[in-house]
């Protein structure tokens, strides 16, 4: 069973991802003013402390075995030791590398194919069914096959992560490029712009909010892909640590790895938000 705090955090991230994805479609919504966000942030922090305290007290009072559910203090201690001894760092590095590499490869491919399908009706008709079939097949189920093909280690995980990241970026790019205001397209035609100019100077910048929303969803999925890939086909990475901890009945270590995964997810998500805020500043009203 997952601890409530991590579950809540991942759920919050999922909700925020969904919300942000719809929000990005309308760039007119202004960004929240920093002043107004301080209070809710304090409240969120207070809730975390409260949940951790409740968990700690419950474990101590009921006397649940650390094998089933370790207290937060035990998890924190394990996390600290595994970080201080340097045991966890290489695994964090491996997971991060797989996640970012998969995101870069899958994201670039998704962007490229999305642009190609948006630009060419023929390609769209020919390739779209294949793209959809490739996406409805659960990629996690392909992991054993990838191990067979690419061997044990980073490669199968990166391939799977890339496949997972491909779809949100392709879909968002395709939609964003198709939704460009027809008046602006006519303006570019009127000004004698070439097809490349229209793509680079109108369609892609106009579609940027949608494309970045796709990137944000892809990043969250990339972490899931990397960890699950490591469950199956790797000896390094946080996913592999969880499997190893399970074998050693070291539940606190499992929780320590889960905490590290949650932190990576949160930081990654914040990074995409920061990137969006920077890039989309001109798109917001009266910024």
């Amino acid at each position: 069973m997952k601890p409530t705090a991590i579950k809540a955090a991942s759920q919050a991230a999922n909700n925020a991802a969904a919300k942000a994805a719809t929000k990005a479609a309308d760039p007119a919504i202004p960004q929240a003013i920093p002043h107004a966000t301080i209070k809710p942030r304090l409240l969120a922090l207070a809730l975390l402390v409260l949940l951790l305290a409740a968990w700690e007290i419950t474990v101590r009072q009921v006397g649940i075995s650390a094998l089933v559910l370790p207290a937060p203090s035990a998890v924190a201690k394990t996390l600290w030791t595994s970080l201080a001894t340097g045991y966890l760092w290489p695994h964090i590095g491996a997971t991060l590398a797989e996640m970012l590499l998969g995101l870069a490869i899958g994201g670039a491919a998704g962007l490229g194919i999305g642009v190609a399908l948006a630009e060419s009706a023929l390609l769209d008709r020919v390739l779209k069914p294949y793209v959809i079939v490739s996406q409805v097949v659960p990629k996690l189920a392909l992991a054993p096959l990838f191990v067979l093909w690419f061997g044990f280690g980073m490669a199968p995980t990166v391939v799977m992560t890339a496949l997972i990241c491909f779809f949100p970026l392709m879909e968002n790019t395709l939609t964003a490029l198709r939704q460009v205001d027809p008046n602006r397209l006519q303006l570019f035609r009127m000004l004698g712009a070439s097809r490349t100019q229209t793509l680079l100077r109108l369609k892609l910048p106009a579609g940027l909010p949608g494309i970045l929303a796709g990137l944000r969803v892809a990043l969250v999925l990339a972490l899931v892909g990397a960890v699950v890939g490591e469950f199956i086909g790797a000896s390094r990475g946080l996913g592999a640590v969880i499997i190893a901890a399970q074998g050693m009945m070291d539940t606190p270590l499992m929780f320590a790895a889960l905490t590290a995964i949650a932190v990576i997810g949160l930081l990654g998500y914040q990074a995409t938000l920061l990137l969006e805020r920077r890039l989309l500043r001109p798109y917001a009203d009266q910024s």
Partner: protein
């Protein structure tokens, strides 16, 4: 360019345009635009005004008839035309100055003199302080001004406007009308201005054409002194001219 002075600047000859599966939206229109003239086109919504404007711009090709320039070549979209849309249609990710320079930067790298001209246009339109702002930071009227500056940056011989001020309040619209008149007089630009507002057409135009259900009912000269001033709007001559246009629009009522 061999320009025959006896020929009109832009000649629409028997133009017919039909969207697939509908009645002709432009149904055999003959219209001559004189060089340097300010031509207004009024009509009810859906009478084919915008389609006629797109034919004049060469964005659409008539199914029969033709649209030719003074030198005998067919109208074609390009930087020699200025086109102002109903909405400002600015690129919100680019600064005001880059929006104004867009027609230039799509052709070549903007030169210092292009930049100077853009700043000059912005200054004339009262936007000198906003050159480095993004469009979303401007009011609706200011955005319309930027769109006008963008249409004028290449100093086009023909300026086409499709109800550009329809979404603005009366005072801002009046200011923009005066700005437009001033800029066009300065460059002797030929203008085709589409609107559904009779008083706007009479105030701006040397001639006002009335369109109804794909046909042109009249092309009336406006007998008002130039330059126009907002005070004229309340004079008898202005009201008489409006009444004349109104009669034609109203006479067409089924």
């Amino acid at each position: 360019m061999i320009a025959d002075p006896s020929r009109p600047f832009l000649h629409i000859e028997g133009a017919v345009y039909t969207y697939p599966g509908r009645a002709p939206i432009v149904n055999g229109i003959d219209w001559r635009l004189q060089a340097g003239g300010f031509h207004c086109l009024v009509g009810r919504s859906g009478c084919g005004k915008t389609t006629l404007l797109k034919l004049a711009a060469g964005l659409l090709t008539p199914q029969s008839g033709r649209v030719v320039l003074q030198d005998g070549t067919p109208a074609a979209p390009g930087p020699q035309l200025g086109y102002v849309f109903q909405a400002p249609t600015l690129l919100e990710w680019q600064r005001v100055i880059d929006n104004v320079l867009l027609p230039v930067s799509l052709q070549r790298r903007p030169l210092p003199e292009d930049l100077e001209r853009a700043h000059g246009l912005l200054a004339m339109l009262g936007l000198a302080d906003h050159a480095q702002h993004y469009p979303r930071q401007l009011s609706g009227g200011q955005q319309s001004r930027v769109a006008l500056a963008r249409a004028l940056i290449l100093e086009p011989a023909l300026l086409l406007l499709d109800e550009p001020f329809a979404a603005l309040d009366a005072i801002t619209r009046g200011e923009l009308q005066d700005d437009l008149l001033r800029m066009c007089r300065l460059r002797n630009t030929t203008v085709l201005f589409v609107t559904h507002d009779i008083s706007e057409a009479v105030y701006l135009g040397d001639r006002v054409a009335v369109m109804h259900q794909g046909r042109m009912l009249a092309d009336l000269p406006v007998d008002l002194p130039a330059p126009r001033t907002q005070a004229m709007r309340h004079g008898a001559a202005f009201n008489a001219a409006c009444a004349e246009v109104f009669e034609f629009m109203n006479g067409a009522r089924p």
